[in-house]
């Protein structure tokens, strides 16, 4: 296939050529970045919490009659006993927060009591001896809390635990290359002994600002005697939905003086996850639909302009056929023409994609676009162009040689 005659023809159709190239370039720039954003969001929302999520549900309970600290202590014990008696419940514990709950206590943890001189931020979860089996956390070193280690604190008491369980990521930061079990760390002005390390437990937050320490969590052996309290309940396999229906009634039957919100008082962990990542998922869906529509519009534009060119050049095509060009020659002429425009478009589009990414990096603190996305976009758009041009090109190849002799 000779390229020079094609280029000569394109010179006569500068405006149309430039428009198709420009459209391909802009589409490439947006689609690459959209794909990149989709990938980032999906990576973000598939980050594991370390929990056995499929069997868990959480209940937010507020006490209605302003009980004292002492009251809550027995109310809490009663509630946990009530929950364990609900058919289908495997285990339960009370806590202030849980992964993805998007609120809770954050501390600095380090090697000295100095509040400002800490090694890492850490999310604080209050837990008892049932927390690990309920959540399905994997203990990689040390041991679980014992029931005699569980203390009680009020909402505004000083938090100074004797023992801690931390995540392996936090252990690595505090004691790189060593075992953390048995070592001391400071979360208050008194040292605490690390008795166990769990493989993974995500923090309550999904913000990018807190992504630096999203696997740095600390479990503290306390029942926090405040309202509201969260109960985390583990259902036996296959019984999650039944348990979710039963727990509210069971708790109200045991004690009416409470508020469990009818809307979101009882949530399965799948709902917690969906809520935490709703904006990420929404953004990924939006980006994907925009990309698909853009590709469709670009394809339609190519079909429209090429159809027009074929209509305009029927006579020339007829002359070429009469002079011995085969149908295949005509077909490949239009395919090559489109490929040339497409290559011009993607070259410009690649530059635009990187430029757009730089601008997004500056505006939204986004990561640098991996070259693979541009490459994928280039291949997609060139293939799309070839597919779009196929129908008009086939029509062109069907132009009979006799067309050369017709005057109109």
């Amino acid at each position: 296939m000779q390229i020079r005659p094609i280029l000569a023809t394109l010179k006569h159709h500068k405006a149309g050529t430039l428009l198709i190239a420009l459209q391909i370039a802009l589409t490439l720039a947006i689609v690459c970045n959209a794909l990149f954003i989709i990938h980032q969001r999906l990576a973000h929302l598939s980050q594991p919490t370390g929990l056995d999520e499929s069997h868990l549900l959480v209940i937010q309970n507020q006490w209605a009659n302003k009980p004292t600290k002492g009251d809550i202590s027995s109310l809490l014990a009663d509630d946990l006993a009530t929950l364990r008696k609900v058919p289908g419940v495997a285990n339960a514990y009370a806590t202030d927060g849980y992964p993805l709950s998007s609120g809770g206590i954050t501390y600095g943890i380090g090697h000295s009591p100095d509040k400002l001189n800490f090694v890492s931020n850490t999310a604080i979860y209050f837990a008892d001896e049932n927390a690990l089996p309920t959540l399905g956390l994997k203990l990689v070193a040390g041991r679980n809390f014992r029931s005699d280690e569980i203390g009680e604190i009020g909402g505004r008491d000083k938090i100074a635990p004797q023992v801690l369980i931390i995540t392996s990521e936090l252990a690595r930061r505090l004691f790189p290359g060593e075992s953390a079990v048995g070592k001391m760390a400071y979360v208050s002005d008194k040292p605490s002994i690390i008795i166990g390390v769990v493989e993974r437990m995500q923090t309550p937050y999904v913000d990018s600002a807190m992504a630096q320490w999203s696997d740095c969590s600390t479990l503290m052996p306390f029942h926090q005697l405040v309202t509201p309290t969260n109960y985390v309940v583990r259902a036996q396999p296959g019984q999650l939905d039944d348990v979710a229906k039963r727990v509210r009634a069971a708790l109200y039957a045991a004690n009416r003086l409470r508020v469990i919100s009818p809307e979101d008082g009882v949530k399965t962990f799948a709902q917690v996850r969906a809520q935490a990542y709703k904006s990420d998922r929404g953004m990924a869906i939006l980006m994907a639909s925009i990309s698909v529509i853009l590709l469709a519009i670009t394809a339609a534009g190519i079909v429209g302009l090429t159809s027009f060119w074929v209509g305009q050049r029927r006579k020339q095509i007829g002359v070429r056929r009469a002079l011995g060009a085969t149908r295949h020659d005509i077909l490949s002429y239009f395919l090559t023409e489109n490929l040339l425009i497409g290559v011009g478009g993607v070259l410009l589009g690649g530059v635009l994609a990187l430029g757009l990414n730089l601008w997004l990096m500056k505006q939204f603190e986004m990561a640098r676009l991996a070259p693979g996305y541009v490459l994928a976009g280039v291949v997609t758009l060139l293939l799309l162009g070839q597919c779009a041009v196929l129908a008009p090109a086939l029509r062109a190849s069907n132009v009979p040689p006799v067309e050369a002799t017709r005057s109109v």
Partner: protein
């Protein structure tokens, strides 16, 4: 003449229905997407108190220790300790001033069988309502004396009044909040500034419903109501007495009516910080006094995703316009002969240009109408999202007009190149070829 052009344009558009439909749909998709995202962005970045925002200022001082302090660069914390807030309040250096924090209020319903429920509330000082122009339906706010005497009185929102008292004048009646009887002194008219600017850093949501109850700060604290957000700048052993703890939990707003007042208050604030440094309470003398809109942009209240979506939609619109240019160009070049004939029969270049621009404008108006339908659908979709601002997403008159302006401008820009190409067609060769 315009009637003739319209007739010609409609005929031409009818001749190639698929191409016309493609142009209109493309343009409509671009316009629908841009108007939807722009409406949401406008909603999110709007001025919550247009009549007063220029006179409202948010004051900040910095009681943090010296570690990590870079003079001139480190910004003060976004909330204030009780000591500082009260010192600034009692100095009375602004026309009006109020300190505030957010609370959860448990409200008992009148019916014995209903469960009590929790509503959003604000604990604040007497000037709050006048400071923010909060409109009263019945009654009024409380006085500075009520603040000091820890009076158990409350101002409630219209929606709470509707729910509890069926919308009747409930001033003087009591409402049970946190197991304590409060006397209602005022009922607000609907008041829900978007964003809820006074609460951006107090631990609440930024958009959505307004607060249900407003009670005096000291009253709420004497009932042990805790603020939704507390930040401590030194080790604390007692969080029960937040008033004396080294913790920040209050937002401080002042009203300053002209630039002299602003300059004076700024000097006063700087002087206060220097005085506290001299007393040894502060280590940093940094202060900040931002007006409402600057404070909102400083806080980056508008979610980045909303901005990103708007940029994306306008990129999308740009591609749609380029696409329409291409299709219009193809259409008009196909009619070179028709143009040749018209030129030969006496039509000027200007006539041809106008004719093709009219055709483009028709595509634009049709695209605008369809785009408007898509935008309404898009906003309906936004309203069914679980976002805080979802229920507020509606097309207003302004955006309705903007839609058509965008559609017309986009289509006329798209029509320029094809119309120019059409009007420079030389008539003679076209006639010869025919």
């Amino acid at each position: 003449m315009l009637g003739y052009y319209l007739d010609l344009a409609v005929r031409s558009l009818r001749r190639n229905k698929i191409l016309t439909a493609l142009m209109i749909v493309t343009l409509a998709l671009g316009i629908g997407a841009s108007i939807t995202t722009l409406t949401v962005l406008k909603l999110l970045s709007g001025d919550p108190l247009p009549e007063k925002s220029a006179n409202l200022f948010y004051a900040r001082v910095d009681p943090n220790p010296l570690e990590g302090y870079v003079p001139g660069q480190t910004k003060p914390d976004s909330i204030m300790s009780y000591t500082d807030a009260m010192n600034l309040m009692h100095a009375h250096r602004a026309v009006r001033q109020a300190a505030m924090a957010l609370i959860d209020a448990k409200i008992d319903t009148q019916h014995p069988n209903d469960h009590p429920y929790f509503a959003d509330g604000v604990m604040t000082t007497a000037d709050f309502f006048a400071l923010f122009n909060a409109p009263f339906q019945y009654g009024s706010g409380w006085t500075a004396d009520d603040d000091e005497s820890r009076a158990t009185l409350v101002v409630i929102a219209d929606f709470l009044n509707n729910k509890m008292f069926g919308g009747a004048n409930s001033v003087g009646k009591t409402i049970r909040i946190d197991d304590r009887d409060f006397r209602i002194v005022g009922v607000l008219k609907h008041w829900a500034p978007q964003p809820r600017f006074y609460a951006t850093d107090l631990g609440g949501h930024d958009y959505g419903d307004g607060d249900a109850v407003f009670m005096p700060l000291k009253t709420a604290r004497s009932l042990d109501k805790g603020p939704q957000d507390t930040e401590c700048y030194a080790s604390v052993s007692d969080l029960q007495h937040l008033e004396s703890a080294p913790c920040e939990w209050l937002g401080m707003w002042v009203q300053l009516d002209d630039s002299t007042a602003v300059a004076n208050y700024r000097m006063f604030l700087d002087g206060y910080a220097k005085q506290q440094v001299a007393l040894g309470r502060f280590k940093r003398s940094e202060t900040s006094l931002l007006d409402l809109m600057s404070w909102l942009s400083d806080q980056q209240v508008v979610p980045n995703d909303a901005k990103l979506q708007t940029y994306l939609a306008f990129g999308f619109l740009l591609i749609c316009v380029v696409n329409t240019v291409g299709l219009l160009l193809a259409k008009c070049l196909r009619r070179s002969r028709e143009i040749g004939v018209r030129r030969a029969l006496g039509a000027t270049r200007r006539d041809i240009f106008t004719q093709f621009m009219v055709e483009a404008a028709i595509v634009g108006v049709a695209g605008g109408v369809l785009g408007l339908v898509l935008a309404v659908l898009g906003l309906w979709g936004v309203r069914h999202q679980p976002a805080q601002y979802a229920s507020l997403a509606h097309l207003d008159v302004e955006m309705f007009l903007v839609t058509f302006a965008v559609a017309l401008v986009a289509s006329l820009i798209a029509g320029l190149l094809p119309a120019w190409r059409a009007c420079v067609v030389a008539p003679a060769p076209q006639l010869k070829a025919a």
